[in-house]
């Protein structure tokens, strides 16, 4: 399979990439690791006329620890995150999540920025950034801004990014106690259900992916929690649960409750 024809431009800086995006608008796509975009282009689900490669832009592939935060550059590969001591020690929930993501080869190429921008409803990171209340750092023609993870995901493959904006980094607060658990779709390794739980004092923050067409915070679980994992019964309250050939909505809802319970007890 060969993608439709496109022009390839390698951007050497964030501002160059932003200018190109601004100029070409909807006809352009950003390429980082390409692990979501290239298969979609080969299947002609996506046929951009311009592909802007941001791989190798200086400063976009570092993991930094600053006071009470961990900042992961958008071009960091999943393997980099998996092997990072800083992430292991200060953001172990991400370490847990990235271990479950894809496979060795996909982790070697795919990036955190690419995965978040793609916003696959079954991707792993969305649950984690929601539970951690991370901030997505973006840059566009009007400058930089920070988007709260809770405001970022708007729907299936849809985010709060404007047409001229790219993700430059993700800022996480350090997380002392967090758990990511996933029920795998056995062929693709995507999440049928993925649950991220962050403990904070006596409360919890719960992010869920794979269940609805948009990853969400299970606020009813959070309200009901009070140290009791039976709060997991509220995992899909007010949520329209997806149904597909891997898991119908009834089974998926059941899985969500089971996985949330396990994650709360972990």
């Amino acid at each position: 399979m060969i993608p439709a024809k496109f022009d390839y431009i390698k951007a050497s800086s964030i501002s160059e990439a932003v200018n190109l995006l601004d100029k070409h608008g909807y006809d352009a796509k950003i390429l980082s690791g390409g692990q979501s975009l290239l298969p979609a282009m080969k299947l002609r689900l996506n046929r951009p006329e311009i592909v802007i490669d941001i791989h190798g832009i200086p400063g976009m592939d570092t993991i930094e620890e600053t006071g009470d935060e961990v900042i992961i550059g958008a071009n960091c590969t999943h393997t980099q995150i998996l092997n990072s001591e800083v992430v292991y020690k200060n953001l172990n929930i991400m370490h847990q999540a990235v271990q479950t993501l894809g496979d060795v080869q996909v982790r070697n190429r795919g990036t955190i920025g690419g995965s978040l921008a793609h916003a696959d409803p079954s991707a792993d990171y969305p649950a984690v950034v929601l539970a951690c209340e991370a901030n997505i750092e973006v840059e566009g023609k009007n400058g930089k801004r920070s988007i709260a993870a809770t405001e970022f995901f708007e729907g299936i493959f849809t985010t709060a990014l404007e047409d001229d904006e790219i993700i430059t980094a993700v800022r996480f607060p350090k997380i002392a106690h967090g758990t990511y658990l996933k029920f795998y779709q056995s062929a693709s390794r995507f999440a049928v259900v993925g649950v991220a739980v962050v403990h904070e004092g006596s409360g919890v923050k719960v992010g869920i992916t794979g269940v609805a067409d948009t990853p969400y915070r299970a606020t009813e679980v959070e309200k009901a929690y009070n140290g009791n994992s039976d709060a997991a019964e509220h995992a899909v309250d007010g949520v329209e649960v997806m149904s597909d050939h891997f898991a119908d909505s009834e089974y998926r809802a059941h899985l969500a409750k089971v996985m949330v319970k396990r994650a709360l007890e972990a």
Binding site: M1, I2, Y8, L31, L43, D53, V104, Q105, N108
Partner: protein, 154 residues
């Protein structure tokens, strides 16, 4: 677009259309047909090669993205007519049946052993998650990689 790629130690410069994948470039331009195309969408791992020392699925990387990179394919594993220890271990432990997945299995095994010189069985199986063997010969593939680890550690 002019692209310079080093493959198995030899540097090539070619004018490549951006939409050509690395695996197509290897097979059709360089005639290195040892790297196989299976699913062509990142699922099966048959097209695994090493790019700058890391295993990647060459169906899901454009050749233009490999500009300036060092690529090793299955053809680059044997040295001076001697099979690489991983290849020798696959032969010894019957780690292949039809052989279609084998180039990808050998290349991902190299990545697994780079990161886990003394891998547990679980680490090997976890590392093989992106590679399918339609003959379902996984047990002997795992045994092959265990033997390769022993040989490489000698």
């Amino acid at each position: 677009m002019n692209v310079t790629i080093t493959v198995n130690g030899k540097t090539y410069t070619h004018d490549i259309e951006p939409r050509i994948s690395l695996v197509q470039y290897l097979r059709e331009t360089l005639d290195l047909t040892g790297t196989h195309i299976g699913c062509d969408t990142s699922g099966c791992g048959a097209c695994t090669v090493s790019v700058n020392g890391e295993a990647v699925k060459s169906c899901t990387m454009l050749a233009v993205q490999a500009d300036g990179c060092e690529v090793t394919t299955i053809e680059g594993m044997a040295q001076n007519g001697e099979m690489h220890p991983i290849q020798a271990a696959f032969k010894e432990k019957h780690g292949l049946q039809c052989g279609f997945c084998t180039p990808g299995m050998v290349m991902v095994a190299a990545d697994i052993l780079k990161n886990h010189p003394n891998p547990s069985e679980e680490e090997i199986r976890h590392g093989l998650k992106g590679n399918f063997c339609r003959c379902t010969g996984y047990h002997n593939i795992v045994k092959s990689i265990q033997l390769a680890a022993e040989t490489l550690n000698e």
